[in-house]
Symmetry: C2
Subunit: 211 residues, 2 copies
DNA sequence: TAAAATAGCGTACACATGTACACCTAAATT
DNA sequence: AATTTAGGTGTACATGTGTACGCTATTTTA
């Protein structure tokens, strides 16, 4: 039995979260939201906010978690598409761009708080991105039989490139986004190719350490 | 003749700029500064602020310009070092890391406002970064005889990677920064190598379009 | 069924903010 | 020398903020 009370509480907690997410936009960052605004949007008295979060910071960290969740759903979705065949890089970029289009504000939250003024926020965002990176790293190691270090470097670089493109996509129109996607794909190919070549060289250096 | 008045005005204008820059830190962003705080730090009455800037936004854009200037000085410095010989990538990364170390707050300003809530700020920052990228692009085209498009893609990717590493460096200690620099160098090599390989392939496709 | 716990409300307060306005003083212009 | 211009000041006000405190109503617990 969940208790009618706990149920209600969870519901208004969600209202607060959704209210905050709903107020995010290209000209409104989380840090510019006030406790009162969020409470009002959620249909609550300002002081009721405290029944759910001790702080706006606590709400913010919850939002970052939420965003991380969305990011992981994204990965799952990309993997599913990849299994059906096609260029891994192309499908990944396309999937990511679709994500940006429909989850712009969540992505903005991550981008902004990653360089924000709260060390806790920065750490939380980096944690989520690092999950993302490590998953990609595993994939690369398995699919391309890459050395662990090289795979990590490639994954890290790829995520950086894709996130940066996502950031640019936020301010771009449809046509620009297509160009952006195309360029991003090229850049990811540079990285993949370079990683492969240099990994091979590393490999041969191992067997011929004197060369 | 400059006029003792114009001279004084320029001086207190600088005081405002320096006051703002001086208040920036890892836990204080430009957007979190208030007009009153900046005026106070500059030793001015709040209302005197308006004699120099109509807005905090106007001050902010001035700071971004200032930051862009610093960025260009950085490039010049890197070029000088490169002329004296050594690995281009290694020297560039090292120079950039030194820049971060002594100009952390200026770099933070760029990072933050790039994803900030003001379209004007975002545009201004992107303009500065794009200068940076185009300079690198020219260099790559000239030094490596690269195709214009490939050179741009490589320059863009490289700048993205380096800025991202810079962002990470801001929260890192000395040892982590060294590792970060090492990894960044590897990643830039991936990109350079990949760009070269794929540019060659593109070249051969031109002469043998049927293959 | 009585008592305790708790989500939500309204009031209230101290504080910081941007900026309008009138004023002063010294440099610049005439 | 007389007048205008303009950087700087202090006062004042409306507005928004976080949050302490006491209250109510309803669910939960004993």
């Amino acid at each position: 039995m969940v208790g009618i009370r706990a149920q209600q509480k969870e519901k208004t907690r969600r209202q607060l979260i959704d209210a905050a997410l709903g107020q995010l936009s290209s000209e409104r960052s989380f840090s510019s939201l006030s406790l009162r605004e969020v409470a009002k949007e959620a249909g609550l008295a300002p002081t009721s906010f405290y029944r759910h979060f001790s702080d706006m910071d606590e709400l913010g960290l919850t939002l970052v978690d939420e965003a991380g969740l969305t990011l992981r759903q994204l990965m799952r979705q990309a993997r599913q598409r990849i299994e059906k065949g096609g260029s891994v890089i192309q499908i990944s970029v396309q999937t990511f761009m679709e994500f940006i289009e429909s989850n712009g504000n969540i992505f903005r939250l991550l981008l902004r708080e990653r360089s924000g003024t709260s060390a806790a926020f920065r750490a939380a965002v980096n944690r989520e991105i690092s999950f993302f990176t490590l998953e990609l790293c595993d994939y690369l190691q398995q699919a391309n039989k890459l050395d662990a270090e090289v795979a990590y470097l490639q994954a890290n670089a790829a995520v950086t490139i894709v996130f940066s493109a996502g950031s640019d996509a936020l301010d771009a129109d449809k046509k620009e986004r297509e160009q952006l996607a195309y360029r991003t794909i090229q850049q990811l190919r540079f990285i993949a190719r370079g990683a492969m070549e240099l990994a091979l060289r590393k490999e041969s250096n191992k067997s011929l350490p004197s060369s």
